[in-house]
Symmetry: D2
Subunit: 296 residues, 4 copies
C-alpha cells in the first residue's frame, strides 16, 4: 500500500522510426526515472499505447520493465478489456510477467450499457479473480465513462481493491471520493494540471504523464506540500500546469514523446494513426519545458 | 460490388449461459436468415461483440460463418484496431478465414488525435495493404468519431475502398456523402430508424441490427421503395423505427439478443458487463416486435 | 465408448498449392467419407500434419471439422505436446472447439527420459485434468517411444482413459495389450497393413490412414470379419496391405495425399519439407489403388 | 563470425517448483556465466527446453536474455519447427526479440521424409528468408536425423549460413565436415565428451551443456589447446568427459539442472514429464563435479 504514495509514472512505450518496439529505450528511461527519485511505475496504461501493442509485445514489455524496477518499487500493469472475462484473463498474464498490482480501465465500448451498477459488478468480479491488488481507473476523456465517488466508495470495501486513479480533472469529485473512502484506500490523481489541488483534497499520490518529462519537479511539489511549503508548491505548480496540458490533452502522446526527447529521455516514435507534433507545437513544448525547468 | 446492394445483417455472436462461444447457434441463425432472403453478412462488427472475443474465438467465428454463407453472398468481416499496423495485421487474418471484404471501424481511443486528416492517412494505408475491398465504418455513438462527407469523398477515390457504412443517424450528412461520392461507391446506412429516409437520400443498401430480428420486413421496405410503393414502405418503416431503436440505442445488444430469442432465432447470452434486459424492457421489446410483425 | 468400434479415419489436412489451409477441401472430404459409411474421425494426429500448423490454424480446423461431423459420430482431436502442462492446456482448447475425446501422443523429444514410468505419470496427470475421454497413442515409427502392453494395462484402470491407438505394427504386442486390459477398454490398431491380424487379436476397431483412400474396403474387412467371412476379409486384406504400406511408411503423407487425389478426394499439397511423390511413386500408388478397388 | 569462436553455452531455462518460468534465475545465471568468461549464448535449444515453453514464454525468455548479454557477445536463438514455413515465421519472431543469429534444428517428426535432399531445400529456404545468420543444428540423438558432411558442405555455400553445431558425437564425421567446408565456415561441436578431439579436428568452437556447469574448465581446455599445451588440455578433458556424459545423455536435463544447483548456479525444476535425478544419480553427479573442479 505504501507503494502507492507519492509520484508514480505512467510510462510511454518507445518505438523506433519504423514503429518497432524499442525496449532498450524503455529500460534506459526507467533507469533515468529511478535516478530522478521515482519508485513506482504504471506500465501500459493509456500513456503506454497499450491499445497499439500486440499481446506478445505487451507481455515482452512488462517482462523487461519488471526487470528494471526493484521489488521495493511499485510495478503496476495497465489492463482492461471490454469484457469481464477478457479482463480477468489479461490480469492473469500480467501477473505471470511480474505485475504486483493492476490498474483496470473501465469498459467503455458499449458505453450506454456501462452504468455505475455495471461497473460495480465488473470490478467486483475482476477483484474476486485477481491474484494481485486492483486499482480502479477512471479516464472519462478517453472512455466517456466516469467512476462516480459513490461507486468508488462501494468498491473500496472490496479487500482486493486498493485504490483509484482518477483522471477526470474534476477536483470536486476527487475530494468527494477521498471523503467517502476509508483512509487506507489510495486515491491518486492522473492529471498533472491539478496535482496541487488534489493533494489539498487528500490525494495520497499521483500517476502523471507529465512526470515522465519532469519527474523531479513533480516529486518536489509533492514534498513541498507535505512539508507545508505551500509557496514553493504553488510556484512550481504554476509552471507544471501548462506543460502538463501540452503533453496530454493538447498534443497527446506525440507531444509527450517529443517532450521526452527534448528532456534527454528516449521518446521515440508513436504508432500511426498518432503523429509527432508539428513544428509550432514542438516549439511551444520546448518553451514550456524550459520554463518548468527554470522554476525548479 | 453488387453484393453491397440491399439489406445486409451485422450478425450477433451467440454465447451459452456460461458465456462460451456457441457457434452452432450462429450457424442456425445464418441458415434462417438466408431462408428469409438475406444474402449478405457483416460478422463481428459492433453488433457481433468483436471486442468481447479473444483472437482465436474471432478467427473460429469467421471460419464457421464463412462456411454457412455461399460464395455469391457477401461475407464481410468487421475489423478495426487502434493502430494502423494492428488493423492491417487483423485484416490479413480475416482474409485467411475467407472474408471477401472488411468493414473497418475508425480508430478512436486517442480520440483527440483522430482528426479527419488522420482518418485519411489511416484508411489509405489500410486500403493499400488490404488484399480485399475495404468498407469505411463511421459509428460515432460508440466511438465519438465521425467520418465527415468530405473525408468519405476523398477516400472514395481509392480503388480499394468500395463504400461506407454510416451509422451516424444523420440523414443530412448521409445525403451529402451520397452526392459527393461517385455513383459506384456504396453508401449504406447502419440505422434502421432511418432506413427509408436514407434510401430516399440515395442509399444503395443497409446493414441493420434490427434486420437480424425482422429480416423480411427490412427487405420489403427496400423492395417497396425500389418499386415506387412509398405508401407500403412508409407504413412498414413506422413500425420498424421503434423496434430498431429498442434493439440498438435503447436496450443495446442485450435487447437485440432478447428480441432474437422472441423471434425464434438463437439470441443467447451477452458477455458481462453487458446484461440481458430487465422484465419491463423485455415486455416492451415483445410488444414492438409483435406490432412490427403484424404490419408485415 | 461405442463410438470407438469399427473404422475411424485419421484425416489429412488439405493445403492449396501455396500451402495455405484449405478447409473447404477438408469439409468436402468429410462429407464423402461419411457417405462411404465412416462415422468416426481423428483430426490432426500425425496424418493431419498437426506439427505443420500454427495454433490458430489448428483451432480453425477442429472447428470446421466438428461442424461436418454429426454428434453421434466420434470426433477425436489429436493432441500431444512435449510437456505435461502443455498437453493439458492443448486439450482444453481442443475441447472448446468441440472435441469429444482426445488422442494423446507420447512425449518423445527427450526420448531417453520417456520411460514407461514417465508415461504412466504423464498420462495420469493428463487424464486427471482432461474434461473429455483420453485415448493413448503409441506411434514408435515417428516418436521412437512405444507404450508397452503392461503400461497400457496400468493406465486402462484410469476412469478417463478409454483406449489406445497402437500404431506399432506389432501384432504380438497388440494381442498382449488386449489380454491385459479390461474388455470395455478400446484397443485400436493404427496400421492398415495388419488390420485383419489385429481384429483376430481382439481389436475393437482401427484408425487407418489408408482408410481415407479406400474407406469402404476397410469397413468391409471389418464387417466380413465380424460376420465370420474370413475368406472375404483375407481376400481384401491382401490388396489393402501393399496400398496401406505405400501411403504410410513408404511414401508418407505426400503419398497419401496423392492417393486421395486419385481416389476423387481432395488430397492437395503437403507443407515443405514434405514433398509430393515423384512420378514413379505416383504410378505405383495408382496401380495399387486400382488393384484394391478391383478387389472390392 | 568471430562471435562463433570459443566456448558458447546452450542455456537451461529455470523453472520454479511449480514449473513456472523463473526469468530472474536465468538472468542471475547469465551474469555468472559472463563473469566466468563466457561471451556467447544459445538460448532455447534442446538444453533450454524450448519444446516445453508456450510461444509467449519463449519470446519473454529471449527478451530477458537479450538484455543480459552485451551486444559484443553472441546471442543465438534456438529455433526449428517441423515445417519450413513455420520455421521461417519463428525466426522472424526471434529476431524481433533481438537474436543476432539462429540455430536451426533439423525437421524430424516425419523422419522418413527428411532426406539429405530435403534438408538442403529446407535450410536453403530458411536461410533465404532469415534476416539474421543461420547456424545448422545436427542433433541425431534426439531427432534421429543427421546432417551429413557433404550436405553441410553444400549448404556452407549459402551466404547466410555461417556454420553448424554438430552434436552427433562422431569425431570422424566432424573432421570430414571441417575438411569439406570453407575455412570461414564455423564448425562447432555440441558434445563436451569430445571437445578436445573436435578441436584437434578443426573445431572453431563449441556449444556445450556441460559448459553451463563448469564454464572456466571448458574455456581452459580451449585456451590450452590453442596455446599448444596438449598436456593440460588432455588432463582437463579426462575429467570433463564423465561429467559431460552425466549431465547430457545419462541423466538428461534433470541431471544438468541438479549439477547447476550444486555448482551455485540456479538450476531449478524441469517440466514434467522430465524429472529430477534420483538420489544415487545426484550423488554421482556431485562426485564427478567435484573431481572436475579439483582438476582445474
Amino acid at each position: 500500500m505504501n507503494k502507492l504514495r507519492g509520484i508514480l509514472l505512467p510510462t510511454t512505450t518507445p518505438f523506433t522510426d519504423s514503429e518497432e518496439l524499442d525496449l532498450n529505450a524503455l529500460a534506459d528511461n526507467i533507469r533515468k526515472w529511478r535516478a530522478a527519485g521515482i519508485s513506482g511505475f504504471v506500465m501500459l496504461g493509456s500513456t503506454g499505447e497499450r491499445v497499439h501493442l500486440e499481446e506478445s509485445e505487451y507481455l515482452r514489455t512488462l517482462e523487461v520493465a519488471r526487470r528494471e524496477i526493484p521489488s521495493d518499487g511499485a510495478f503496476i500493469a495497465g489492463v482492461g478489456q471490454q469484457s469481464t472475462r477478457g479482463t480477468i484473463a489479461e490480469i492473469a498474464k500480467a501477473v505471470q510477467c511480474g505485475a504486483d498490482a493492476v490498474l483496470v480501465l473501465t469498459p467503455h465500448y458499449y458505453r450506454a450499457a456501462i452504468t455505475q451498477e455495471a461497473l460495480v459488478s465488473h470490478y467486483t468480479a475482476v477483484a474476486d479473480a485477481s491474484r494481485v491488488h486492483v486499482l480502479l481507473y477512471s479516464m472519462p476523456a478517453l472512455t466517456g465513462i466516469k467512476i462516480e465517488p459513490e461507486t468508488t466508495a462501494r468498491l473500496s470495501e472490496h479487500p482486493n481493491i486498493m485504490g483509484v486513479k482518477d483522471s477526470s480533472n474534476d477536483v470536486a469529485g476527487f475530494a468527494a471520493t477521498v471523503k467517502l473512502c476509508p483512509p487506507e484506500f489510495a486515491v491518486l490523481t492522473g492529471n498533472g494540471t491539478v496535482l496541487l489541488d488534489t493533494l489539498r483534497a487528500g490525494a495520497t499520490g499521483a500517476i502523471l504523464a507529465v512526470g515522465c518529462v519532469v519527474p523531479r519537479m513533480c516529486v518536489e511539489i509533492f514534498d513541498a506540500f507535505n512539508r507545508g511549503d505551500e509557496e514553493r508548491a504553488s510556484h512550481l505548480q504554476a509552471k507544471l500546469t501548462p506543460l502538463a496540458a501540452a503533453v496530454t490533452t493538447r498534443f497527446g502522446i506525440g507531444g509527450l514523446k517529443a517532450a521526452l526527447d527534448l528532456a534527454d529521455y528516449r521518446g521515440g516514435a508513436v504508432r500511426a494513426p498518432l503523429r509527432a507534433p508539428d513544428e509550432a507545437a514542438g516549439a511551444e513544448i520546448a518553451t514550456l519545458l524550459e520554463a518548468a525547468r527554470a522554476a525548479l
